[in-house]
């Protein structure tokens, strides 16, 4: 059963098309939906989590249509919005208890203890959540989301506002979750994190998917690696298949290659045998940032909504 499947999923707010004929198949592992602010990421998540009705098209989660069988969809998902909604006057354990009981778990004590342990919150479980750091609150939310063993988890900006160590920690936990066969659907605008942790990413721009694939695929598809070589003395030209000299300034020469890591030793050998004295070589792989900028194009800061559209968004959820 495909975890997430959308067909021509479209959402319009008045004449603003927030999500435009989205066709997406996501199954197992971490899928990252990337995009600039206002590109339709959150709207997509709201539709997939049955919180918002689409204008057109269909979406199904684990084989259940989000509009025809929303209860069944809600049974197999968890949704963690970006707001960090934790009851701060309740302890971690009490927060967990509320969620476990809402998910219909009759005797949740063991499950709660287990998950608090997994999320490294055991020793603070009986302190009020207001004493928790941002990272701890996020981990508590993840523990809550896991309590009914969902098949798909939706995370909206899971690491926003956290420090570097907390982010890495959250990612380690998210990765562990996928090992049990869960599907994680997340949004982010941290490209480095998406690059490092997502199995697949989709870049969304103006409600449309602009690029889709694994981070490595996208990077290699969109541009080749760049190798810069510093030599001593004069440069004796070399010919290697698949490599092109793109520029030379004094004794620094730049090459491009399909796969820089493999090309690097070949180039070093070739340069040496042609009589060059190589002083330094460096490889610059294109980052997901490059891919993002290339597929999204020149970005303008979104202007926000007009007052009327804002009201439409809030009220007209049909």
């Amino acid at each position: 059963m495909t975890a997430i499947l959308t067909e021509n999923l479209t959402k319009k707010f008045g004449d603003l098309c927030a999500v435009d004929n989205l066709n997406l198949t996501v199954d197992k592992g971490i899928f990252g939906l990337l995009g600039p602010n206002g590109s339709g990421k959150t709207t997509t998540v709201l539709m997939l989590t049955t919180l918002l009705a689409q204008t057109k098209g269909t979406a199904s989660i684990c084989g259940h249509d989000t509009r025809l069988a929303p209860e069944k969809v809600r049974d197999c998902i968890s949704y963690v919005p970006q707001d960090m909604a934790v009851d701060t006057n309740l302890t971690g354990r009490e927060n967990m208890f509320v969620f476990a009981r809402l998910y219909g778990i009759e005797k949740p004590k063991e499950k709660i203890d287990e998950l608090l342990g997994v999320m490294e919150l055991s020793d603070r479980a009986d302190d009020p959540a207001k004493t928790y750091s941002g990272g701890m609150r996020r981990r508590l939310e993840l523990a809550e989301a896991l309590v009914h063993e969902p098949e798909v988890i939706f995370l909206d900006e899971p690491t926003i506002g956290l420090d570097v160590a907390a982010r890495r920690n959250i990612w380690t936990h998210i990765r562990t979750m996928t090992k049990k066969g869960m599907t994680i659907f997340m949004t982010t605008h941290y490209m480095d994190e998406a690059d490092q942790y997502c199995d697949r990413v989709g870049i969304i721009s103006h409600g449309k998917i602009a690029a889709l694939g694994s981070p490595a695929e996208l990077k290699s598809r969109l541009m080749s690696d760049v190798i810069t070589v510093t030599i001593e003395g004069s440069f004796a030209p070399v010919q290697i298949e698949g490599m092109v000299v793109v520029g030379q300034s004094d004794n620094v020469i730049s090459f491009t290659a399909e796969n820089g890591r493999e090309a690097l030793p070949l180039l070093a050998d070739a340069l040496k045998s042609a009589g060059n004295r190589v002083k330094a070589m460096s490889l610059h792989e294109p980052s997901l940032d490059d891919v993002f900028l290339q597929s999204v194009g020149k970005q303008e800061e979104p202007q926000g909504f007009e007052e009327l559209k804002f009201h439409l968004m809030l009220h007209r959820r049909h």
């Binding site: 919180l51 949704y79 006057n89 309740l90 009914h148 809030l314 049909h318």
Partner: protein
């Protein structure tokens, strides 16, 4: 309904941990009872305390009930509502739990007022009378909190909602029969007071304290409450899907 009790558990713990909120909700009605009930020099009734206690009970339920929308509003603003709506529990249980929680919280406050009133000289009633008073207050609480949640679902920020409740609460109280009987009011005020839902609940409680069982007012209160619960449910469904 599945989920209602656990939502109430959550709101209840949040309320008792927020101590100043508990204290203030008990101090305000007590202040009314003491400063108005004991101090006002009135001539139209023998025991003014007996006269004004129903009014203060209903006012307490009014302020308690109106906060139901506020609770829902904060859940909406802080992201809890979206989390809850994405869960397999019936969505309406969120609404039902808020209405029941604030109504019950109102009844806790009412109990304090009833005890205090007796301590400072009000007449002690029979258990049946107290039962009827609680029934009327509960129905009225459900009525007000349904109204309040319906409004909160329409307004999208807490400031608008706070302005709305401030605008509604005081005028409703002063144009009701809480402080004086119809006969002691100027004509225009009596006209308004007759159609004020607060007067309705207050008069029903006064009937009870006078020794009769106000069957028709209770039934009417029940009908109005049912209509408003239905209305809140309708708005809730409309806004959340």
């Amino acid at each position: 309904m599945k989920g209602v009790s656990i939502y109430i558990y959550r709101d209840f713990i949040r309320w008792i941990r927020y101590r100043i909120g508990v204290i203030s909700s008990l101090v305000l009605p007590a202040a009314w009872l003491l400063f108005v009930g004991l101090a006002l020099p009135v001539t139209f009734t023998g025991n003014y305390l007996d006269f004004i206690t129903p009014g203060i009970l209903v006012m307490t339920i009014l302020t308690a009930g109106i906060s139901s929308g506020s609770l829902l509003m904060f859940d909406k603003m802080l992201g809890f509502l979206n989390k809850f709506l994405a869960m397999p529990v019936p969505r309406e249980s969120i609404l039902v739990s808020k209405i029941l929680f604030v109504s019950m919280r109102g009844l806790i406050q009412a109990t304090i007022i009833l005890i205090l009133a007796v301590l400072i000289g009000a007449t002690v009633m029979t258990p049946l009378q107290y039962g009827l008073v609680y029934l009327i207050l509960f129905l009225f609480g459900v009525f007000i909190s349904s109204f309040s949640t319906a409004i909160a679902l329409y307004l999208y920020d807490h400031d608008s909602f706070a302005s709305f409740t401030a605008m509604v609460t005081m005028p409703l109280f002063f144009t009701s029969s809480a402080l004086m009987p119809y006969s002691a009011m100027p004509g225009w005020l009596a006209t308004i007071a007759h159609v004020n839902p607060l007067s309705f609940a207050i008069n029903a409680i006064r009937d009870v304290t006078a020794g009769s069982i106000p069957v028709v007012p209770i039934l009417m209160l029940f009908v109005f409450t049912a209509i408003f619960v239905g209305l809140a449910g309708y708005v809730f469904r409309k806004v959340t899907i």
